[in-house]
Structures are given as structure tokens and as C-alpha cells.
């Protein structure tokens, strides 16, 4: 479903973020990408959705060469992913409900069905009672769950999450972990960048480990 072959990424300015990385991931897998800070985890996720393009090598998702995708095709490719960003990227000028509704609006989902799906997603992450609240009034853990709701509301085939337990206490982190596990159990391929050892121990996923931009272990499927 996903394959990296000999992927290198050098940022303008000369920093080599990824170096000859090859691996593949099958549909339905739960994969953690681990490594020290600066190892290239975020870069790897960004290459999957063409936020960054590889300097060399190819990134294939569902038979599409994402690295060579035309500008116009990128938005449609991104809709098959659910994205949880390291820095949340919530819109603080609109309600919890409206934040979750965003991916459906973008995909042109008709209003009534959309509202039903938004509530289902909020219910799933335990935030239904906050649908009219503004995101700023939520705790860190709740904001993170809000991000999860926005990521899965349009039922993507692949969930990408970058440090989803970033600044959370263990209990909150494990809640997020359970959510990831439940999505994965219904068939969503999940790729999570993290260095959260508790989460690793709890979910026992396949681990792809990076070190200074090179693949350290976990390349073979």
C-alpha cells in the first residue's frame, strides 16, 4: 500500500533529513516511526502527503507516485489520509464542531450527513458534549482528541499522526493510544511518529526506527 524506495530528503539549506530510506507498509498495519528528535520522523510523514517532496527516490501510496504528483492532484490525494499534526493546527476562531466538519466541507459532503458524521466522530473521542465550545477552552488532552476526531471524520484509509501524545500525561497518552488502536482494528492503516515508550509498550506495533535520517531497523515488512 505504501512504499518508500531509496528516499532521500535534503532541505534547502543543505540539511540531510532522510538518507536512502526504503520500507513498505501493508494495508491495515499499525506502524510507529521512532527515533531521536531530529531523526527525520516528521519529514517522513510529510513526504507521504506531499507537504515535502523527496530529493531522490520514490514514495508510492496506493500505486501513486506521491513525490511526482501534480499540484492539482495533491488535494485529492490528501483526502485519503487522516492527519494529526505535531502542532495541532486547530482553527481557534471556530467551534469544536466546525473544526471537525472541515474535512467534510472540503470534500463537498452534504450538510445533514456531515453533521451526523461530525457528531459520531466527536462521540468516538468523547468530546460530543463540547461540540459548541471553542477549542481554546479544552485541555491539552482534549485538544489532541479533537485533532483525532478531525483526522478520522471523513473515514480515511490511512491515519498519520505526528507525536500525537507530545506533551500529554501518561493517562491522556494512553487514551490516545486506545483511540489509535480502535481505528486500526476497524481496518485503518495507522502510521504514528513518536518516541513515547509507554505507548510503544502498550500497543506493541511494528516499529520503523530512524537515526540521523537513516533507517536503523524495521524496514522489512
Amino acid at each position: 500500500m505504501i512504499s518508500f524506495s531509496h528516499v532521500s530528503k535534503r532541505y534547502p539549506g543543505g540539511h540531510q533529513a532522510l538518507q536512502d530510506v526504503s520500507f513498505s507498509i501493508n494495508a491495515g498495519e499499525l506502524v510507529f516511526v521512532t527515533g531521536h528528535s531530529g531523526a527525520g520522523k516528521s519529514t517522513l510523514l510529510k513526504l507521504l502527503v506531499a507537504i515535502e517532496r523527496p530529493t531522490s527516490g520514490s514514495v508510492i501510496v496506493n500505486g501513486q507516485n506521491v513525490g511526482a504528483l501534480g499540484r492539482r492532484a495533491v488535494p485529492f490525494m490528501r483526502r485519503s489520509f487522516g492527519l494529526v499534526f505535531q502542532d495541532h493546527k486547530l482553527l481557534f476562531d471556530r467551534s469544536v464542531f466546525d473544526n471537525v466538519a472541515l474535512p467534510l466541507q472540503i470534500a463537498g459532503f452534504p450538510g445533514r450527513d456531515a453533521a451526523r458524521r461530525v457528531r459520531a466522530a466527536l462521540d468516538k473521542v468523547g468530546l460530543l458534549k463540547y461540540e459548541t465550545a471553542m477549542p481554546i477552552t479544552l485541555s491539552g488532552g482534549e485538544q489532541q482528541r479533537l485533532c483525532m476526531a478531525r483526522a478520522i471524520v471523513h473515514r480515511p484509509a490511512i491515519l498519520l499522526a505526528d507525536e500525537p501524545t507530545g506533551n500529554l500525561d501518561t493517562d491522556y497518552a494512553l487514551e490516545i493510544g486506545e483511540l489509535i488502536r480502535s481505528f486500526n482494528q476497524v481496518g485503518v492503516t495507522a502510521i504514528i511518529a513518536t518516541h513515547d515508550q509507554t505507548l510503544l509498550a502498550r500497543l506493541a506495533p511494528r516499529v520503523i526506527s530512524l537515526k540521523h535520517g537513516a533507517l536503523e531497523s524495521g524496514g522489512a515488512a
Partner: protein, 301 residues
């Protein structure tokens, strides 16, 4: 097709929300645009009306021949006979001085003043239609009649009508230039409004782009906003010009019933009105498009 309609309805709705979010600013923008647009449009309306009136005049150029004040009946009959014999004259009409005075009394409302006059100050006059309405033929005829005995003054109506027409053509050009300049200004103003909107919404644009929004989806609310702002400006201009024409007609009507049909300002035609609404709307759309495509390119990824 339905998805396309829904997408546009969504963009339109988002634009309305942005207007509703800043109602005062939006109203002021529409007002400024409308006032600016009402200048060339009002001038255009005035010129078109005067032009129609002056064409009526130039289409049937007439010669007015005024007799000397002390010309007697025999002398007038003599002139009338000469007019009858002159082949270059198609028709003529005598306006006796008593009738002219009565008309003046009726139309001017100066009954008391006129009644107070010791004698009728108006001469007898002939209104003459030439067989050949070409300017040279008219001028030759005028010069001939001028030499007839007891004819005090001969006036060719077409002359001032032609001058008026030339003046009106010039005014029309001024209106067109003014309209073009204001059209450009409207595009520039919209460009700037949208630029500021894109900048203040930069974060939102980045986020929705990351989660799969197409450029078209992002642009639509801005485009509709530009179009609606132009449309509102056009509507304000329409109101101003229509109200202006209405008020002008009321006072013109009071001024003189005689001239009313000539000096009537016809309101904007449905076609003109439609153009007055759609042109600023398209210019607003265009300005927004220029702006949003330029500024979205700066927010890459």
C-alpha cells in the same frame, strides 16, 4: 453538477458570512464604490437623455423668422406669400404675436408681469421647415430670408443643436473615461481588500490546504466576496442615479410643462440597470481573482 452547485453555494455562503461578520465595513465599502460609480453613470444618463432630445431637434431642423415689432398685417402677408412661392420651403407656420404672448403667460406663470406690460414685446414669427434639411441648404435659406423686408431676425435651430450634440459627445467620452478609471479603481480596491483578507486568514488557508482543500475551494469565498461587494456598489449607484433622476424630473416638471417631454430624464433602462449591477460584480470578481491567485501562490504546500 449537484456537487458543483453545492460547492458554489458553499463558497457563496462563506462569502455572506464574511460580509455579515463585518456589516458596517461592508456597507461602507459598498457606499464608497456606489458613490464613485454614480458619477459616470449619472453623467451617462444625463448625456444619453440630452442626446436623444438634441437628435429630435437636429432631425427636423427648423428656421425661425422673427418679424420687426412694428411690422403690419400687409407686410406679414407679403412675407407669407414669398414663403409660399419659395420652392426650398416644405412647410411653414405663422405664430402670431398674441398667441406667443399667451403661451408665454401660460408656461412661465408670470401672468401679472406680462399683464402689466404696456404692450406685447413679442414679434410675429414664422416657423419654417426646409425641403432639404442639409446644413448648407439651411444656411443658404436662412441668408436669403434674412434679406427680406421687415424680417428682423432669422434663427437656425440646427446650429445650436449641432453644437449641443458635439458638447454631448464630448461629455459622453468624459463619462466613458471616468467609468473606465473607476472600473480600474474598483479592481484595485477589491485586490487590496482581498489581499488583507488572505493575510488575516493565512493560518486557516494553510490548515485547510494541508487537509485536502483545492485552490478552487479556497478561492471561492474570496471571489464571491469580491463579486458581492461590486454588486452592492452597483446597487448603491443605481439607487443614487435613480433617485437623482426622479428628483430632477420633479423639479423639471414644475419648471415647465411645455418643455417637460424634452427635458424629461428617462430612468435607467432595464438593460442599463443590469449592466450597472453586473459590470461592478464582474470587476469585483476579477479583482478578487487577481488578488487571491497571487497571494495563494505565496502560501505554498
Amino acid at each position: 453538477m449537484r456537487a458543483w452547485l453545492a460547492a458554489h453555494a458553499g463558497g457563496f455562503g462563506a462569502a455572506l458570512e464574511r460580509i455579515a461578520f463585518a456589516p458596517l465595513g461592508s456597507a461602507l465599502n459598498a457606499l464608497v464604490i456606489g458613490i464613485a460609480l454614480s458619477l459616470p453613470v449619472g453623467l451617462y444618463l444625463l448625456v444619453s437623455n440630452l442626446q436623444a432630445a438634441s437628435h429630435q431637434l437636429t432631425a427636423a431642423p427648423q428656421i425661425s423668422a422673427f418679424m420687426a415689432l412694428d411690422a403690419n398685417r400687409a407686410e406679414i402677408a407679403q412675407i407669407e406669400a414669398r414663403l409660399k412661392q419659395t420652392p426650398q420651403i416644405a412647410a411653414y407656420r405663422l405664430v402670431p404675436r398674441e398667441q406667443a404672448l399667451a403661451e408665454l403667460k401660460k408656461s412661465s406663470g408670470l401672468t401679472d408681469v406680462i399683464d402689466g406690460l404696456p404692450q406685447n414685446p413679442l414679434p410675429d414669427a414664422f416657423v419654417i421647415d426646409a425641403a432639404d434639411p442639409s446644413p448648407t441648404a439651411l444656411e443658404a435659406l436662412r441668408d436669403e430670408i434674412r434679406q427680406w423686408p421687415r424680417v428682423a431676425h432669422v434663427q437656425l435651430d440646427a446650429q445650436w443643436a449641432r453644437r449641443l450634440d458635439a458638447g454631448l459627445r464630448f461629455s459622453r467620452m468624459v463619462a466613458a473615461i471616468l467609468g473606465t478609471l473607476l472600473g480600474i479603481a474598483l479592481v484595485a480596491v477589491t485586490f487590496n481588500t482581498i489581499r488583507l483578507q488572505v493575510l488575516t486568514r493565512r493560518e486557516e488557508i494553510e490548515v485547510i490546504k494541508l487537509i485536502g482543500a483545492t485552490d478552487a475551494f479556497i478561492q471561492r469565498p474570496f471571489l464571491y466576496f469580491g463579486a458581492l461587494q461590486g454588486l452592492a456598489g452597483g446597487a448603491v449607484a443605481w439607487l443614487i442615479v435613480s433617485a437623482g433622476a426622479y428628483l430632477a424630473n420633479r423639479s423639471l416638471g414644475e419648471l415647465s410643462h411645455v418643455y417637460a417631454s424634452l427635458l424629461q430624464l428617462n430612468a435607467l433602462t432595464p438593460g442599463d440597470s443590469l449592466a450597472l449591477l453586473l459590470t461592478p460584480a464582474s470587476l469585483g470578481w476579477f479583482g478578487a481573482w487577481l488578488s487571491v491567485s497571487r497571494h495563494l501562490a505565496l502560501i505554498e504546500r
